[in-house]
C-alpha cells in the first residue's frame, strides 16, 4: 500500500514538473505574445494541478489535505481567468497577433510576367 502511494505521488509530481518545464521553455521559444500566452496559461494550470494532486496523495493530515484542495480550486479558477483578461486587454490596446503567411497565389503570376 505504501509503495503504491509513493509511486502514484511520484508519477503525478513528475508529470507536473515536466509540464511546468515545457511551459517555461515555451515562453522563451514561441514567436509572439499570444502564442506565449498559450504556453504560460495551459501548462501553468495543468502542471500546478498535477503537482498539487501529487502532494495531496502524500499529505500528512486532514487540514493539510483541505488546504491543498483549496489551492487547487483557486488555481483552476484563477489561471484561465487571468489568461482571458490579459489577452482581452492586449487586443483592446492594439497589440496585433502574428498572422501566418498564406501560400501566395501571386507568385505564379509574377514569374510569368517578369
Amino acid at each position: 500500500m505504501d509503495i503504491v502511494i509513493n509511486i502514484s505521488s511520484g508519477l503525478c509530481l513528475f508529470i507536473g514538473s515536466f509540464l511546468c518545464l515545457c511551459g517555461g521553455v515555451g515562453m522563451l521559444r514561441f514567436p509572439d505574445f499570444y502564442t506565449r500566452m498559450h504556453a504560460a496559461g495551459v501548462t501553468d494550470t495543468l502542471g500546478s494541478a498535477m503537482i498539487l494532486i501529487g502532494l495531496m496523495i502524500i499529505s500528512t493530515g486532514f487540514l493539510v489535505f483541505i488546504k491543498l484542495v483549496m489551492i487547487l480550486l483557486l488555481g483552476i479558477l484563477i489561471g484561465p481567468t487571468t489568461s482571458h483578461v490579459l489577452a482581452k486587454a492586449a487586443l483592446h490596446n492594439g497589440l496585433e497577433p502574428l498572422l501566418g503567411h498564406e501560400e501566395d497565389p501571386d507568385t505564379d503570376n509574377k514569374e510569368t510576367t517578369s
Binding site: F33, L63, A89, N93
Partner: protein
C-alpha cells in the same frame, strides 16, 4: 522526488524571469510576472513539504490571491493612452505585399 520537482519549478521560474527581462512588449512582461507568481505558489507548497512544515500552505493561498489581484490591478490601471501600441510597432508584423 519532491526535491526534483522543486528544482524543476525553480528552473521554470528562471526561464520566466528571462522572458520578463527580454520581452519586447509590455504584455510579455506582465505575463512573465504572472507565471512567476504561479510558480512561486507551487514552490512554497513544495518547500513546505520538504522542510516538514505544512504551515507554509497559508502563505501559498495568500500569494495566489495577491498575484491575481496584482495582475488585475496592472491591467486596470494601464488603460491610459501611454500603454497603447502606436502604429510604428505594427509595421514590422505586416505581410510583405
Amino acid at each position: 522526488m519532491i526535491i526534483a520537482a522543486t528544482l524543476a519549478i525553480f528552473v521554470a521560474m528562471i526561464l520566466a524571469i528571462i522572458r520578463g527581462i527580454a520581452g519586447p512588449t509590455l504584455y510579455d512582461r506582465i505575463l512573465a510576472v504572472n507565471m512567476f507568481g504561479t510558480k512561486t505558489v507551487l514552490l512554497i507548497s513544495l518547500l513546505g513539504f520538504v522542510m516538514g512544515r505544512p504551515e507554509f500552505l497559508d502563505i501559498a493561498i495568500v500569494y495566489a490571491l495577491i498575484n491575481f489581484i496584482s495582475v488585475i490591478g496592472v491591467l486596470r490601471y494601464s488603460d491610459t493612452n501611454e500603454f497603447k501600441h502606436t502604429p510604428a510597432n505594427k509595421d514590422s508584423i505586416e505581410k510583405e505585399p
